[in-house]
């Protein structure tokens, strides 16, 4: 586990050194939410209607944004082959690093959702459900994004094809996520959609590490 800690600490240090990484998700998220109201002529009730969609679009972006830099730089500077040779199984590494990336890109959305609720007139009463849904959803999206990143890291056409196949997997997450948020906003019970989100997360946690590790090995063999 010492090795796992070292890996996580390394990624966090690098994220911190690239100064922007810390500030950007927050600014990005506010700007992102600002975009939609700017586009429309915003009456509060309209905003409240689209708020779920907006938040979840932002979640998708944050999940996928910067994901390709997740393994790309390691591939290019040769750290990836070193990590592949390390005794620590690649599956564990994949899980740990996806989580570290999520800490920087996904978690801020969850933490900031109250602020966003205020900006978009989203009913404060439904906040907990929204945040919880985001917690589940962003994690799943990060795992999916990591698979895509691992596939594209060596820029092989096969990987590209597969990436195009992976992206649509995000759709169900978006649908159910936005649905749960909308239901909560209308005062209905969102637990159904939330259960589905949770199921997808569990599925992702079980399967994604193997997919990621396998994809990385393929990329290295090229």
């Amino acid at each position: 586990m010492n090795a796992l800690n070292a890996l996580i600490r390394r990624d966090l240090t690098i994220a911190y050194r690239r100064w922007g990484e810390l500030m950007t998700p927050i600014m990005f998220f506010i700007l992102m939410t600002a975009l939609f109201p700017l586009g429309l002529s915003p009456h509060p009730e309209l905003l409240r209607e689209i708020a779920p969609g907006v938040v979840w679009a932002a979640a998708l972006l944050a999940g996928l944004l910067g994901q390709d830099s997740l393994f790309r730089s390691d591939y290019e500077d040769g750290s990836l082959e070193q990590l592949a040779l390390a005794p620590l199984p690649l599956e564990w590494q994949a899980l740990a690093r996806t989580f570290t990336h999520w800490l920087g890109a996904g978690l801020p959305l969850v933490v900031l959702s109250p602020l966003m609720a205020m900006l978009l007139q989203y009913p404060a009463a439904a906040m907990p459900e929204l945040a919880f849904g985001l917690l589940l959803g962003t994690l799943t999206l990060s795992l999916l994004g990591a698979i895509g990143a691992a596939l594209t890291v060596s820029l092989k056409q096969s990987g590209m094809l597969l990436l195009v196949l992976v992206l649509p997997l995000a759709v169900p997450v978006l649908i159910f996520g936005a649905q749960s948020a909308a239901q909560a906003a209308r005062g209905e019970d969102p637990s159904g959609a939330l259960y589905l989100l949770g199921a997808m997360l569990v599925l992702g946690l079980v399967l994604a590490p193997f997919a990621i590790a396998g994809a990385l090995r393929i990329s290295l063999e090229s």
Binding site: G20, M23, M27, A34, L38, P42, L47, M118
Partner: protein, 248 residues
């Protein structure tokens, strides 16, 4: 003409600028103190309540000065950064670096006071109104400038890159100012400085003008101090800094 040029070059020399700033800062400081105290008295006590907004309008005495400074600040930042970029003037970069946090704080102030004003007037702390949004954007431009400067390992490259960004971002300032004209905005348009005299009572106007003067003086005082700091950071190790330390 050449007189002004020599003056320009003297300004460009760090030690001269450092001493000048040190001498000027206190004056601006005292001036701002006097003006702000007078403005506070005029605004909070002397001026009568607004006929429709009641006493709520008194926020204007901090909202408008800070809002106007937020824009002036960015203009100053962009212009000095541009000078630093074109004429390779160290001092200009120092000025830009010094303005950024100051301007950001006043932008923040304009946003907070504005939204505190908005609640009683419009019934909401925030609305995605053109001016409000563009002011928020301005805050992020300040952040972007600072973030980009720090992102570079080599500070010299960082300040150049940030200068390019600042120049490009200058377009937002007129957008903010004319936003109330271009879009049908919640926010009221130019009420203070409209062409043929202003349409608000002098008893309200005079304190506002005093406050604007006070805030500007305050801005100048802080700016000079920050510039001194920046210069010291850059020039530490230079001969004149040593002399300075001997004297002090």
């Amino acid at each position: 003409m050449n007189i002004s040029w020599t003056w320009f070059h003297r300004l460009a020399s760090p030690p001269y600028f450092f001493r000048l700033a040190g001498r000027l800062a206190p004056w601006f400081g005292w001036l701002s103190l006097v003006c702000i105290v007078a403005g506070l008295y005029g605004g909070l006590w002397y001026a009568p309540p607004d006929y429709q907004q009641g006493d709520g309008f008194r926020i204007i005495y901090i909202h408008v000065p800070s809002a106007y400074l937020s824009m002036m600040g960015y203009t100053l930042l962009a212009v000095s950064a541009g000078i630093g970029l074109v004429w390779r003037m160290k001092m200009a970069h120092a000025v830009a670096a010094a303005v950024a946090p100051l301007g950001a704080s006043f932008t923040f102030l304009a946003l907070v006071t504005g939204s505190l004003w908005g609640k009683p007037m419009w019934g909401a702390y925030w609305a995605w109104d053109a001016r409000l949004t563009s002011e928020l954007i301005l805050l992020f431009q300040y952040f972007g400038f600072i973030a980009l400067r720090r992102a570079f390992e080599d500070p010299r490259s960082g300040e150049k890159a940030a200068a390019v960004l600042a120049l490009v971002g200058l377009v937002d300032v007129p957008v903010i100012h004319y936003s109330v004209v271009w879009w049908n905005s919640l926010h009221q348009g130019s009420t203070v400085f409209v062409g043929e005299g202003s349409d608000i009572a002098t008893s309200m106007l005079v304190p506002l003008l005093i406050m604007i003067a006070g805030f500007t003086a305050f801005f100048a005082a802080c700016l000079l101090k920050r510039i001194q700091l920046e210069v010291l950071e850059r020039e530490s190790g230079a001969a004149w800094v040593r002399e300075l330390l001997e004297d002090a």
